[in-house]
């Protein structure tokens, strides 16, 4: 395979909290333009993996992004290099307005002129947000907060977007919308690493997938392939 278009490579990643290894010697990679999903049950180590990639949790192993080792690069600099994360539970600032939530994500951007264009892009994608731009983040519904969380990641103009369970707590129709939006964002050139418990939806949009169980990758393959895999069907698709 062509190694040149690997955007993220994770080698022997281990994340430990005290004596407990939440992620145990995990290796995988994501190529430019892909949607890769990491599925697994509660406590499998999915969020820990994303937090390590974003530089907000200590780890051992090696994480390279665009060919550069990310060790010792502070989290805010990683964002400046074009990698944004939509955190688990959305992480909306309830005391900031919708617009302020979006604006804060432009902290690292120097291209002030194109920022205005990107607000329009976010509002075109999520028209509800435009109507609520002066409302406090805390007053939004769960679905709107998820839109805002994705919108925020778009405002940092990322080449790579990490999403941690974007479907969590949403009604089925909203889940479909959010997954549709993710494929939309991917089509405009953003590489996606998607963490999900909703294996069915995640596998159906993913080019490739990894299955994480108690900190280890137990299966990997193309999204459609895993959708038909007996073991995956039993464990995650009920």
């Amino acid at each position: 395979m062509d190694n040149n278009n690997i955007i993220i490579s994770v080698e022997n990643l281990t994340v430990a909290y005290g004596n407990i290894k939440a992620v145990d010697d995990v290796s995988f990679e994501v190529r430019e333009g892909e949607i890769v999903t990491l599925i697994g049950a509660n406590g499998a180590g999915k969020s820990s993996t994303l937090r390590a990639i974003s530089g907000v949790t200590p780890y051992s192993g090696r994480i390279c992004y665009g060919g550069r080792d990310l060790r010792n690069i502070p989290a805010h600099q990683i964002v400046a290099r074009g990698m944004a994360q939509v955190p688990e539970g959305r992480g909306i600032f309830g005391n900031l307005t919708v617009m302020e939530n979006l604006k804060l994500a432009t902290w690292q951007r120097k291209d002030r002129e194109t920022v205005a264009k990107d607000y329009r892009r976010v509002f075109a994608l999520f028209p509800q947000l435009e109507k609520r731009q002066d409302q406090l983040g805390g007053t939004l519904s769960g679905g709107e907060q998820q839109m805002l969380a994705v919108g925020r990641a778009l405002m940092s103009r990322s080449r790579m977007m990490l999403l941690d369970e974007p479907s969590m707590g949403l009604a089925p129709v909203l889940v479909r919308d959010i997954f549709h939006t993710i494929t939309e964002i991917n089509r405009t050139g953003t590489t996606i690493l998607l963490v999900e418990q909703n294996a069915h939806m995640a596998l159906s949009i993913a080019s490739r997938a990894y299955v994480l169980e108690t900190g280890k990758i137990i299966l990997s393959g193309a999204g459609k392939e895993l959708l038909d895999n007996q073991r995956v069907r039993e464990a995650y698709l009920g």
Binding site: H76, V79, A84, P87, F93, K103, L104, W107
Partner: protein, 291 residues
Amino acid sequence: MTYVFQQLLNALQVGSIYALIALGYTMVYGILTMINFAHGDLFMVGAFFCFFAAIFLNLPFVPVLVISMVGVALLGVVIERCAYKPLRQAPRVSAIITALGVGLFLENFTLALNPYPKQVPQLLANTTWIFHGVSISSIALFIVILSLLLMLMLDLIVRRTMVGMAMRAISWDKAVVPLLGVPVDLIISLTFAIGTSLGGAAGVMYGLAYPVIDPYMGIMVGWKAFISAVVGGIGNIRGAMIGGYILGALEILVVAVMPSTYRDFVAFVLLLILLIFRPYGILGKPHPQKV
């Protein structure tokens, strides 16, 4: 009636100083959920910077104010980086003990340099106007106006600028902020710098109003300002401003109707009553617990 107005003006002057110092407590609490118990002593250091700049550098008021604010801000940032930052993940009590230790250090270091109380020279001409029987000192008026201006500036920074937005975001959920590309440590340092510089400004104003300063002057004033911050709702910026004026008014009221020795006692009683009936203060809200 003139008596009431006279006392009101006094209350505004004292309240302004409490409010400025209270802002430092509340800003640091908002961003780190930690009480910087050295803050009252930083206010004292501000008064001493004022004294040194006026005596040894022979400077007029504006440069003296700037030197004190910048000097105390730098000291605040150094304290945060060296003493508090290493303890961010440590239990709360470690940070509190460290802050108390830093405060004692500042007091005793200043004491070692200045064993005797010092007299701040008169930096501004003091004129007294009599207006319908109320005597208005130009210094008191100046203190109130300058304090309000500083508070207005702070309010604008917090509400309108990206740095202010980042400060508010950190107070809501510190873990998410770096994921948006915002350098959290820088914002924390800026918060310390701004909060402590207001304490430094309060030190200068205190020196204008009550020119005799000593290394222990920050203890009681610091407590009063801390109570102001709690009364207003710790972590809430406008609350700290309101709390400062409430405490100023309360003190003047107590002295007007009771023996003046009751002044500090009543302030602490207020704190206790408040902690029982409204622990979140006037503008504070119980923060939603994140899971």
